[in-house]
Symmetry: C2
Subunit: 431 residues, 2 copies
């Protein structure tokens, strides 16, 4: 049995502070769970001159070599964020025989498969619960409570910024531009908001979830990704009239031995649990063959929730260190064919700006019908409502299920119609 | 390593059928997880002449001795329900050195502490994920993902029948009597609905959750329990006007080293995640010092979800059997003082039928104020709305937080007022 479990931190800041504070506050309880007390050894920072409350200045260093040279360190915890040098440091820590706990979605999305293999090859573990969904439990339910199920789909609201924005657009009727400015003022959105609003952050996280839920390796650039910047107040209003709510869904599912992974603004039926996840909350829904659907909802970010997940991983691997247990057998991630969006099948919402003249609906319906897309409902909105020019209108169509390729082909025809002024949003529908 | 893991079932029926079917369908996957194949050994039924699809007739028996005499059985799975003889059979199985997996909320609520001790004394495990929340993962998130947290409260919607009824009363404006009849027709409610509508089922489950979340032993009769049979359509309508939804909440929390455990119809703020859990869905929300609130939502009953939880337990203990691992050290459940409702503190909603005459509100406000209960809002509804006699009215008051004892004392005074015709519901408010 190890007498203490030495932990070094890569990164300080808010999350590091919360981790250190929790270990100081709940040290006895953690020691009882782990079988040995946790001890902070080294803290890697960029600026060693800055004061870090709760951290002994002698532990602070700006050199990764210093951390790795510390023989008392058995677990390295990384929450620097960003791809490099975080990835290189994680690799070095694993090669030096240290267990690693990381909150880094970008590194795990891009390099998870090879780093997990490297960890196994070095007889250590790499844990990453905090890299997705903040404080929401994901790993243990999958590895224990849902183990009897074949998990076939994961659907998640996994970016707090965009969910906050879409919720405000829905509940307050705010415009995209106004609510983005407000989110930036409140600190929910970055000055450059593209990682959030273009779905880049969500794409990292769904790639990580593909590994967790299916043990399948999906690269972030294999995720079919669309952001929310094209969503208008009218899309939100039309969706509401149809009984739907617009959410940025990150989704992965196994279909016929292949995988689909998407991040897309989606019309979600208003009675669905995911439709009711509002504000900065996140949620992850799993579908299993026995259990049906279960959803986990909670804070997707924040120092306390992130520290909660990091410490869960630390306590887990700490038990191994205390008892000198070796990692379990390792199953390398599978690589499945990633289905391109043309092969994805879904119902869809189409918003099309048209000249308000006879025959236009017939032409659009014909273009869709020729590709086998069958229409479920049609609504027409006049300039009075749309704010468009006189003599124009907006058609909102919903369809039955059809493959992406059929929609694309039909839209190519519609785009050429003299009466079609604008193909607005084409969004999948769920529930 | 064991070559096969022998499982005997106490009870057949739908859930047993689903468990057997899953083992047949996914046997290879389960064997890979466990380290040895699962094998059904004996199936205990009341009526041995009935056909059981998927079960070999030679495995069927109506004698528990027959099951316990089978040396190939290392795990006994119980889903007979009810207190006896299930409790006695579980005890006998544990004493005979068999691991037990049970879905029995009544037995675990009433006898959990002593049976868990008995299991430990016999070197075996007793697992019961399926006894609460159907397919919703509860055990692994608590024992792994939330382990770094001090869990201080559990709040749950944990009875599908009453949630279905309250949802219909809210969304369709149905009366309690009409919706109860409909629920009985649909099979969601029993001919004698008292176990559901009086909160007895929910009290069993919150008692089980006290063990899981806090390792505290709470007997079902220590749960302060109220059902939904006194909830009127007007309560639902008044709550809606105040921005609340009426839900039957099962709740437990640790306060000052003591425990509160309640099942009560509660006004839940409409924006709260629990307020949006509708129909037969269940949800369990945990509050931890680091993570804040996380909520797990899913099917609370049904053969697939229940089989999912039972099999999660079977695979977990099966891994121990395959590797000949001994159970971990056992921490006996704590017994804390259970706070009586007079000591519980909450905001409250009060509906009081009165004579519509000057001074009545003043007298009620004085009675509350004298006990230190401060009023937050007052609404008055006339007979036109309430359907009451001319010259009467209904007062709906909401209060700031106060102890149960203060409400009781004030209500004793109000009850004696000449102008007070009826103390309607007094319900706690959350969120």
């Amino acid at each position: 049995m190890a007498s203490t479990i030495g932990i070094s931190l890569l990164g300080a800041g808010n999350i590091g502070g919360a981790v250190v504070a929790a270990i100081q506050h709940a040290g006895e309880r953690y020691a009882a769970r782990v079988g040995a007390p946790l001890e902070i050894r080294r803290v890697l920072v960029r600026d060693t001159s800055k004061k870090r409350p709760g951290i002994d200045p002698s532990q602070i260093t700006d050199s990764i070599d210093d951390v790795l040279a510390d023989e008392g360190t058995s677990i390295v915890v990384e929450f620097m964020g960003g791809e490099e040098p975080a990835r290189a440091y994680i690799e070095a820590a694993l090669r030096s025989g240290r267990h690693v706990v990381t909150a880094n979605k970008e590194v795990m999305a891009k390099h998870g498969a090879s780093l997990l293999q490297l960890a196994y090859d070095n007889g250590v573990r790499l844990l990453y619960e905090a890299s997705v969904g903040g404080g929401i439990p994901v790993i243990a339910p999958l590895s224990r409570d849902l183990l009897a199920n074949e998990v076939t789909a994961v659907t998640a609201i996994i970016n707090g910024t965009t969910n906050y924005m879409l919720t405000a657009m829905t509940q307050q009727g705010a415009t995209y531009e106004d609510i983005l400015a407000e989110a930036q003022r409140l600190g929910y959105a970055e000055p450059d908001p593209s990682a959030d609003v273009e779905g880049i952050d969500a794409a990292f996280k769904i790639a990580v979830l593909c590994g967790l839920a299916f043990n399948v390796d999906v690269a972030p650039n294999e995720v079919d990704r669309r952001g929310i910047s094209t969503i208008t107040s009218r899309d939100i209003a039309y969706a509401a009239q149809l009984g739907y709510v617009v959410k940025l869904l990150a989704r992965a599912r196994i279909v016929g031995g292949e995988i689909e992974a998407t991040v897309r603004p989606t019309l979600v039926g208003a009675m669905e649990p995911l439709a009711k996840v509002d504000g900065v909350l996140n949620a992850v829904q799993f579908e299993g063959d026995l259990v049906g659907r279960v959803m986990f909802e909670g804070p997707g970010a924040g120092q306390g929730p992130t520290a909660s997940s990091i410490l869960a991983d630390v306590l887990d691997v700490g038990q191994d260190v205390a008892r000198d247990r070796k990692p379990l057998a390792f199953i390398p991630r599978r690589k499945l064919r990633v289905r391109p969006p043309e092969e994805h099948t879904s119902r869809a919402y189409l918003r099309i700006g048209v000249k308000d003249q006879p025959g236009v609906l017939a032409a659009i319906a014909t273009a869709l019908g020729d590709e086998g897309v069958s229409i479920s409902s049609v609504l027409q909105y006049d300039p009075e409502f749309t704010g468009g020019d006189p003599g124009t209108a907006e058609l909102v169509l919903t369809t039955h299920s059809a493959p992406g390729r059929a929609f694309n082909a039909a839209l190519d025809v519609i785009r050429e119609l003299d009466a079609a002024l604008e193909i607005g949003n084409v969004l999948p529908m769920e529930g």
